[in-house]
């Protein structure tokens, strides 16, 4: 019984945090340091799962952080830098040691002469079975982006997950566009070229779009996401209307 009640409370809390009026006030309180104790900890837990909270907090933290300019200088002791330098040196030598450890291509097997053919076979198999594993983005299982307005206000969060091949797009504030217009999501290649049209986005709330395997593969080359307002029922391959929101796509494993 109490579990049901707790679940209900949690759901209500999450809904409360999705209300921009509420979460903007909480975000500014967090950023300035006025949110403390358990409330601060709870909010940090929520930020881990709700990207828009993180984005709004980041924006406010950035505003207040310029207060550091007003402070008078205070020189730390030399020991601080010495400790930092020692830490950097020791961690870089550890990572070098790790790189040097177990160089599998120079093990006895390969030194004995029949290594090259076997290595070629292994590389061919890797390429054939999983060509993506040779790129750093290959391990990505989630792409995400926070999209901002012209005035750098975070307005939407998008997540694209490999597990269900779904793109979810959460608009935090309603976007007002004329009735004959619709919002279209575009993925722009990092190195330039034609953008990929991902679909139409609802003017408020959440939109879910199923993506194909080919689209998932293309995401590793995508840099920027944009939302433009386009004429309804007109088939276009490139954005023609005004760009309303944009953000950088980042990957995580």
């Amino acid at each position: 019984m109490s579990n049901i009640k707790n679940n209900k409370n949690n759901k209500n809390n999450i809904k409360r945090y999705q209300n921009p009026e509420v979460f903007e006030q909480l975000a500014i309180e967090y950023a300035v340091g006025a949110m403390q104790g358990r409330a601060r900890k709870r909010f940090e837990t929520l930020m881990e799962t709700h990207f828009y909270l993180r984005a709004v907090v980041d924006a406010y933290e950035n505003k207040f952080a310029s207060l550091v300019e007003l402070l008078p200088d205070a020189q730390p002791s030399n020991q601080v830098w010495n400790n930092i330098e020692a830490h950097i040196q020791s961690s870089s030598s550890q990572s070098n040691q790790q790189k040097e450890k177990t160089p599998w291509w120079s093990t006895g097997f390969f030194k004995q002469g029949f290594g090259l053919a076997a290595m070629a076979l292994v590389i061919s198999a890797v390429l054939l079975l999983n060509p993506m594993t040779l790129t750093p983005e290959a391990t990505a299982s989630l792409y995400s982006a926070v999209l901002e307005s012209d005035s750098h206000e975070p307005m939407a969060v998008t997540k694209i997950q490999k597990s269900d091949m779904m793109l979810s797009f959460d608009l935090m504030k309603k976007i007002d566009v004329a009735d004959n217009m619709e919002l279209t999501l575009w993925c722009h290649p990092r190195k330039g070229g034609e953008p990929m049209k991902m679909g139409t986005i609802a003017k408020t709330g959440k939109t879910m779009i199923k993506i194909s395997k080919a689209e998932w593969k293309t995401l590793k080359n995508v840099g920027r996401l944009t939302i433009s307002a386009e004429q309804k029922n007109v088939n276009i391959k490139q954005p023609k209307g005004n760009m309303i929101l944009q953000g950088q796509l980042s990957s995580s494993s």
């Binding site: 104790g37 952080a65 207060l67 550091v68």
Partner: protein, 180 residues
């Protein structure tokens, strides 16, 4: 105004230790000053500064120049380290070095010479803060620079806890439209 530290931070992200040292030398006096106010003792302030700069070294690649200045990004990283440390200590250090009190440095009436060296960001923020009632402004700045809890502010300003909470809540509500 150009962000003079952004290039050093970007070189740091690429593993350039010399650039990181230059960045430390240029920014550590301001950031130490922030740590002293937050932690109140030199020993704790230096601990936080050290841990904060190590985090800056490790996370420099997550700095994005389009989203803000290098110094503000670094001060957020280091201040959050300080707040975590305060939370882990549970209570503030009993030993408080008295010179790290007050808000004279953030006075609204700064000398023209001092104003010249400030960025547009801080000038904009100061304009917003100046629109608040003096008590609200003071509470917000004391929260930011000193990490005071509401109860500490109530004791320091000799006001009921509810009044302090209301000042901060309303002050932040009032300042929001000015910040966006």
């Amino acid at each position: 105004m150009e962000d003079i530290y952004a290039e050093m931070l970007q070189k740091t992200a690429a593993g350039d230790q010399l650039a990181f040292k230059q960045l430390y030398e240029a920014t550590s006096p301001k950031l130490m000053s922030l740590c002293l106010r937050l932690m109140r003792t030199e020993a704790l302030a230096e601990d936080v500064l050290q841990e904060g700069f190590i985090k800056v070294w490790e996370k420099a690649d997550s700095f994005s120049p389009g989203k803000g200045k290098a110094l503000t990004w670094m001060s957020t990283v280091i201040r959050n380290k300080g707040l975590d440390k305060l939370r882990s200590l549970k209570t503030k250090a009993a030993e408080t070095e008295i010179q790290y009190e007050g808000l004279e440095f953030s006075s609204a009436d700064l000398e023209p010479d001092s104003l010249e060296n400030l960025s547009q960001d801080i000038k904009g923020l100061m304009d917003c803060l100046d629109k608040l009632k003096p008590d609200q402004r003071e509470c917000i700045l004391l929260s930011y620079y000193y990490g005071h809890t509401h109860q500490e502010l109530a004791n320091k300003m000799d006001r009921p806890l509810g009044t302090i909470k209301a000042w901060i809540r309303r002050g932040l509500e009032d300042i929001r439209p000015c910040l966006t």
